[in-house]
Every structure is written in C-alpha cells, then in structure tokens.
Symmetry: C2
DNA sequence: TGCTGTCTGTACGCTACCGAACATATGAGA
DNA sequence: TCTCATATGTTCGGTAGCGTACAGACAGCA
C-alpha cells in the first residue's frame, strides 16, 4: 500500500527572510525557467482582481519566492507561516493515509492560494502542500494575510469565492475517486494542470502523477499509453505533452468541466 | 451505473412563510419524533457558540422547520434561499454524476450549517443537499445570513472555522474513496452519523447508505453483515444500531478520527 | 389475518485495479 | 562517448467491487 512520495526538498530560498526579497532574480531561482518573464503579482488571478489601491497597500508585504518540485509548503498539523499565491508554480494539496498511500485533494495554481486555513482560523490542516510544478509564487506573512482579510475589502471577497471554488474541486475529486476510471481521472488531472501552465508540456514523471491520483504507477503507464494511442497526448521520460486538447476532454469525465466552469463562474477566470 | 436516489419529497412545511413559524409544534412536524424535546437554536453548535447579544438579534430571524427524509434543501446550480442549521436532522451534501451515480461529499448535522455558498458569494453549487435523517433545523434567509456574516462578529468567525471543518471532511472523503474498503467506509459513515444523533439507532435502509457511500446496495449488505458478525452493530429492516462503538472504531479507517479531531479542534464540539 | 410492496440475502461472472517482480530504455552527467 | 540511476514497459496472479438476477422475509396496511 505505501506509495513512495518524492523526498521533500529543502529549498533554502523558502527559509530566507523578507529582506532577501530579490532572491528570485538571482541564479537560485533563475534556473527554473530561463525564459520566464519578469514576475508580477497580478499573474495570480486572486491578486490580479484587487483594485489598485488595495494592491498598493499589499504589495510591500508580498515576497516573490521560487518554488521547486518537491518543496513542501506545509505538512500535516504544523503551523503555516505564509499564504502562497502561485504565479507559475503549481502546488498539490494532498493527504497521506496512515498506511502511507497518498492522494491529491486539490491542485492550486495561479488561480488560487495555498493557506486557506490562515483566514478561516484553523491555522493547520491534516493535509500537506507539495510543489509539483516548479515556478514562482508570491507569499504573504500569516499576520499580514489575517489583517488584510479582516479589512472586509475585495481581498476578503475574492478569497471567500476562491474557498468555494476549492470546495468544489475537492468535492469533485471525492466523487471522481469513487466513480471514474484511472484514464478519466488522468485526463481530468492533465486538463486541470494544463489550465495552470502556459507551455502545454508538463515536466513530471508518471510516478509523480500516480502519487497525485493515488493509484499505482503502472496504472498511469497504461492510461497514458492509451491516451497516446488515441493521439491526445505524447510523452517521453519525464515529460507529458497535450497534443489534442479536445480529444482529451472527451476522454475525461465531466469532473473537469464542472470544476472549470465553477472556477470561471466564481472567480471570473480559469 | 445509475444508482437510484430516493425520490425527492416535497415537504410542504418548507414552503411555508416565516409567518408560520410555529408550524413545527403542530402535527405536521410532531410525527417525526414524538418524544423529541422542545427545540432550541443552541442545539446547533454553531448557533450555540454565539454570545447572548448576537443571538438576540439573530433569533427573531431564525425559523424552525421540520426536515424529512428525502427533502432536498438545494439542487445543483439553483439559488439557495436559506441557510439551514440542523438541530436534530442530518443532511447529506452529495454529487450526482453525469451517469446518475451519487456519492456523499459531506454530512451536516447539529455541528454545522447547510448553505456555505451563501456567504462565500457563489450562491449555488454543483452538488445537492438531501435530508437523510428526519428532524429539525433552524433556517435563516439568505439576505439575513449575509447581513449577519458581514457584521464580522462571532458568527463570521465560527462560520469560517466551520468552513475549514467542512473542507477537512470533504478532503477525507476524497482520500477515503480512493484508498479504503467499503467496510471501513461504512464504519466511518456510521460513526460520523452517530456523533450527530442522540439515539444510537439509525432509521435508514441499506439502499440509502449505499447511495451515500456511492457503492452498490449489495456491497453495503455484505459489509453490514460482516460488522454484525463481529458484534459492532445489529440491524433489521430499515434500522441499524451501533452495539459496540469501540470495535466499530477499530473497523473504520483513520478518516473518522481525523474528521472528528479536526471538528473538535476547530469548533470545540462534537 | 392475509396481501403486497419493499428491504435484505445470495449467487454468478466480469472487470478494473492492485501488488510484486523483472525487463528495457532513456538521458543527464562524468 | 559511456555509464548508470531512474523512468517506463510488461507480465501474472489475486481480489474488491460491479452488474445482474432472483429468492426470501419482514412490516405496514387493508
């Protein structure tokens, strides 16, 4: 039953103080994607919807940090110190069972935020947050987030809406885990992830995807081979590319469409 | 694949105006449980935590309604008109797939509220809310809930904490659906439901439980028989009784304990 | 008391997915 | 260019849960 998870990477950048705000512009972060454009908070949809005035007061507290594959943003029942607003990174919220098996609860990309529990008041959760696609995120200190949230402005409004979008995604994951095949779930996962990146190609192994879905690596291999035969995707060692998005949507269960539609409706984005 | 759901019951009580506030004391509601004590908003934990002052302003807007097995409190993508705070009723939030199969996303009893999306701002959800244990709930009109929530008082605080508890339960359902056996899931579901009632006996069919878990009725029959053999539960046509709670906890996966612990931590109850 | 609808028990073949073991092939780094 | 860690391919038996079908048994009601 135990499914091996990527060994957590200690990303020294994540330990730096806010003083080292420009760290991301230095080599340590630059390796992630050389061609990546200069980062900007508004690349995150939640931050992007804030009026200029709100953003002005917030921006001095936002710290750009590079997130790398395997970085743990939080672990079960440990106090979160920051909320993360991904711009190009993608984070997986997942739960690891007592027997060591894992499964993703929800993904978080540039449409969302990691650290809901900071403003709901719980501060910790039984789940973990792991980076599965390297990139950048802006982070905000715990106390700052709480302060901003309690201003009852646009940030509170959009975070509450995002919370509902998150609940929708988690709910859909629950139903999907119950009723849909691995191939359908793989299609759903690829589509949801595709919506969070710009490139159309994923840099990840089938083993990692298997951990996300909570299935065996072999099951992912079989499903991926099937999708490749149909011509939806193509893949090679450590890479997956979506070739035909329309066909991939046909291979997915409705869960993808439900989540996407709700996310668009609630946040006005995708 | 299609799993038949109980045909939605049109509960005339739910259509009455606030003027018929005392409806619950009349025969229509009385049948539910003759021995049931007079209802009181503080039987719901969320309402129960409110300071007297907050409660005073709220209580005039709270309407006691009887909820009966099969009542639908909301359906996918339709505007909610009320938030419900169960006292003795239990509601199932569930999703019905495109092929007609259903599975529970979370249960809501006297520890919670049905209608989160009213204050998050979405107003609708892709899921449904169906009563699976008859009883009572206090309800609050949509606009009243929003007004109260935006006061930024204790109600907002406790609702945000409840939202996190809900996310925990949904997340755990997702992981449980992926990794645990029907017998473990049945045990978890019975325990969670047991925490929401006072009697120790459930009035429900195996078919209904199967719809909740999203599995076949026969799978529930087998799991229930197994639990009965062990001596955890006993059941007869339309009734399930928990005989030995400790043993039932041993038959459950850790998901029950995780949800219960988090609920207690976040709400200080259950 | 007897009828009847509904709830529960049982059986059968089937399929998807699991667990384990091992073969092959890729590509990053020496 | 070669090496080797690691990613992917393949196989095989096992099993949990599904879909279907039907039998028995309970309980509400006439």
């Amino acid at each position: 039953m135990p499914v091996s998870i990527i060994p957590p990477v200690l990303n020294p950048d994540l330990r730096k103080s806010a003083a080292a705000n420009s760290a991301a512009a230095k080599p340590k972060g630059a390796f992630i994607l050389a061609a990546e454009k200069a980062q900007n908070p508004s690349l995150n949809y939640l931050l992007g919807t804030l009026p200029a005035a709100d953003m002005a007061s917030l921006s001095e507290h936002l710290e750009l940090v590079p997130l790398r594959l395997g970085d743990m943003l939080y672990e079960p029942n440990t106090q979160l110190q920051h909320a993360y607003f991904p711009t190009s990174a993608i984070v997986s919220l997942h739960y690891v069972t007592a027997s060591g098996a894992s499964s993703e609860i929800s993904g978080v990309g540039n449409e969302g935020m990691v650290g809901i529990s900071l403003f709901t008041g719980g501060n910790t959760t039984p789940s973990s947050a792991m980076v599965h696609t390297s990139g950048y995120a802006y982070r905000l200190e715990r106390s700052q987030l709480k302060t901003e949230f309690n201003r009852n402005g646009k940030l509170q409004q959009i975070l509450l809406r995002y919370t509902q979008a998150l609940i929708t995604q988690v709910s859909q994951t629950a139903a999907c885990n119950r009723h849909h095949s691995v191939e359908q779930q793989l299609s759903r996962w690829l589509l949801l992830t595709l919506d969070r990146i710009t490139s159309g190609e994923f840099v990840l192994t089938q083993e990692l995807v298997a951990n996300m879905l909570g299935v065996r690596r072999e099951s992912v291999t079989a499903a991926a081979a099937s999708l490749q035969d149909i011509g939806c995707i193509s893949y090679r060692r450590g890479h997956i590319s979506v070739i035909n998005r329309k066909d991939l949507e046909k291979c997915s269960c409705e869960c993808y469409a439900v989540v996407r539609k709700e996310t668009q409706r609630l946040l006005g984005v995708s």
